[in-house]
């Protein structure tokens, strides 16, 4: 034995070798922070080196089923992937079908489409904020998100007859008309949400813990947002002015007065603020719609005239709702194809419908915003801390059923 350790040990026993501790972590599909997917996280210490998103746990093969159903039967199908945002899912599909059919909804129906879409956007954003806050351990935000969403869901229920899977928008118009009771409900909901948003600001947005968890976390630069193909509030949180409602106005958006909140920071907090301000903008739009909505039919004359007069009188004039004309059962649109876009709650939603002249579509392509997020999420998580996985997940508002379709 020697009394001099430097002869035995490298660097005289003084060198500290830092061994990277790496391993894989299997987050999900049965994990409180994973949602309906599996995230294979490759960790180095606390830093995420790489993730592999194993999506597809809620895949419903909507695109394949679309080739086997009549056009009208697809309305309930396409809104299933994102039942929280079903008006938008429905609207995008109908816009494409209307383009192939060559019909245009009347003015009042266009306003009603915008109205229901904005109500749905508020509900969807509140849901997203709720999920984000519970990921950060803030259970109050979670409960508030779901509780405050309720008033808007109730409006949708009064308007369309269903809480989430509304199937409200049909080719050539909408199913039901807005009545006085719903307007009153909406005014109440607007006042209530305006009050509640103040509480939200003090409890969530200005909460030091929430801010610490979101600021400078998951920073997506403008270049990366464009490269990775982000859409919706995530894109606008990175400073890109892009909103389908402005770029390609559909429904009544070209007549509505609203602004698009854009933040430059690109971090989770900016994305949250964009969502938050979009709620305020949506409320502004709803006010305007209630004020300016024109009188008139809610279904285009071409379909309206196909309803037998007695039924039309009974339902449309007395109850202000549409009974489906027989044409809908299995109509065959002309050959052709159409691409439609709407700004859904989570971002741009694209439908590409090809008709071969039969009663079924030849091909329906549905690009949902969450579907585009798969790649964004994968790239954005790299290099952040493990605890930020859920923070980024929540701030992107990634919704697995919508991504899998």
């Amino acid at each position: 034995m020697t009394s001099r350790p430097e002869e035995l040990l490298p660097e005289g026993g003084m060198g500290v070798e830092v061994v990277p501790v790496s391993g894989e972590l299997n987050v999900g599909p049965q994990h409180p922070g994973a949602g309906h997917m599996r995230i294979l996280v490759k960790l180095n210490g606390d830093i995420i080196e790489d993730v592999d998103l194993d999506v597809g746990y809620v895949h419903r093969s909507v695109e394949k089923l679309c080739e086997n159903r009549n056009y009208i039967h697809l309305i309930p199908l396409v809104e299933r992937p994102a039942i929280l945002d079903s008006i938008h899912m429905n609207l995008g599909y109908i816009l494409a079908v209307e383009k192939i059919l060559g019909v245009q909804a009347p003015e009042r129906a266009q306003y009603l489409r915008s109205f229901s879409a904005e109500v749905n956007r508020i509900a969807s954003h509140l849901y997203g904020l709720g999920i984000l806050t519970v990921f950060l351990g803030h259970s109050t935000g979670f409960m508030w998100g779901f509780g405050d969403r309720e008033v808007w869901v109730e409006i949708l229920q009064a308007l369309t007859g269903a809480r989430v899977t509304n199937s409200y928008i049909i080719p050539g118009g909408v199913r039901r008309d807005l009545g006085g009771a719903i307007i009153e409900m909406t005014n109440k909901a607007l006042d209530y949400t305006e009050r509640k948003l103040k509480d939200w600001k003090s409890m969530v947005l200005n909460n030091p813990v929430i801010r610490a968890r979101l600021e400078n976390v998951g920073v997506m630069s403008r270049e990366n947002a464009v490269r990775w193909g982000a859409v919706g509030p995530n894109l606008r949180g990175s400073g890109v002015y892009y909103d389908v409602r402005k770029m390609e106005p559909y429904a009544a958006y070209d007549k509505l007065d609203f602004e698009i909140p854009v933040y430059k920071e690109g971090d989770g907090f900016a994305r949250t603020l964009v969502r938050f301000e979009e709620i305020e903008q949506s409320m502004k739009m709803i006010r305007q719609i209630l004020k300016e909505i024109p009188e008139g039919p809610i279904l285009t004359d071409r379909f309206l005239n196909q309803i037998p007069p007695t039924r039309r009188k009974k339902w449309l004039e007395e109850q202000r709702r549409v009974v489906f004309p027989g044409y809908y059962a299995s109509f065959r649109p002309p050959k052709g194809e159409a691409t439609s876009m709407v700004e859904a709650g989570r971002g741009e939603l694209l439908y590409y419908v090809i008709s071969d002249g039969s009663a079924h579509p030849y091909r329906v392509r549905m690009i949902t915003p969450s579907y585009r997020l798969i790649y964004v999420f994968k790239e954005l998580v790299k290099g952040s801390r493990y605890a930020d996985l859920v923070s980024i997940y929540g701030s992107l508002d990634y919704f697995p059923p919508e991504a899998d379709r």
């Binding site: 394949k64 464009v226 490269r227 770029m247 390609e248 698009i260 030849y362």
Partner: protein
């Protein structure tokens, strides 16, 4: 730190007054450079038919340079009677406000015998998801894609391509027992 862009960057739905629509200009440039079939459906939709998929990457780089940095979708379509698969690219722009309001639809075909095409991952990284899905659903191989594996389908779902027309969906009949 919040900043509302007060005016949307030069919007132009009513651009009929303009002597030349942007889409026509873009399509004319594509036609002159690559000698392709082009068609403007409206001022918001333009079609490009690419019969030779080998120049896809060149076309892609050209379009990216023109400002079409937003790949909206890649769609695979099966045409069993012609024994070919169509691949449709929807392109638009984030940054260029003029191009953002239009969609350029590039259509190309690959035969059944060799369902292979170059990946546009190097031009638009967001094609990562689209190409993986098209690969698993229609069996089109994208050369140069970094991670071409099954995505939505289970791992043992080999050799069957659900979105091809040969894959039939078996439907159960709907039976309702009438109560007496």
């Amino acid at each position: 730190m919040s900043q509302f862009s007060q005016q949307p960057p030069s919007q132009q739905p009513p651009s009929q007054q303009k002597a030349e629509r942007i889409i026509d200009k873009l399509l004319a440039e594509i036609k002159s450079t690559f000698n392709l079939n082009v068609k403007a459906e409206s001022e918001r939709r333009g079609y490009v038919e690419l019969n030779d998929p080998s120049i896809l990457l060149k076309l892609g780089e050209f379009l990216k340079e023109k400002g079409l940095d937003h790949l909206k979708s890649i769609t695979g379509i099966d045409y069993p009677d012609q024994k070919k698969l169509a691949i449709v690219y929807h392109l638009s722009s984030y940054e260029n406000p003029d191009l953002a309001s239009l969609i350029l639809i590039v259509k190309t075909y690959v035969p059944y015998e060799a369902p292979e095409i170059d990946s546009v991952y190097s031009i638009w990284p967001s094609s990562w998801t689209f190409e993986r899905e098209t690969y698993e659903m229609l069996g089109i191989t994208f050369r140069g894609h970094p991670d071409l594996r099954l995505m939505f389908l289970p791992e043992d779902f080999e050799g069957v391509f659900p979105l091809r027309k040969s894959f039939k969906v078996r439907q159960e009949g709907l039976f309702i027992d009438k109560q007496a």
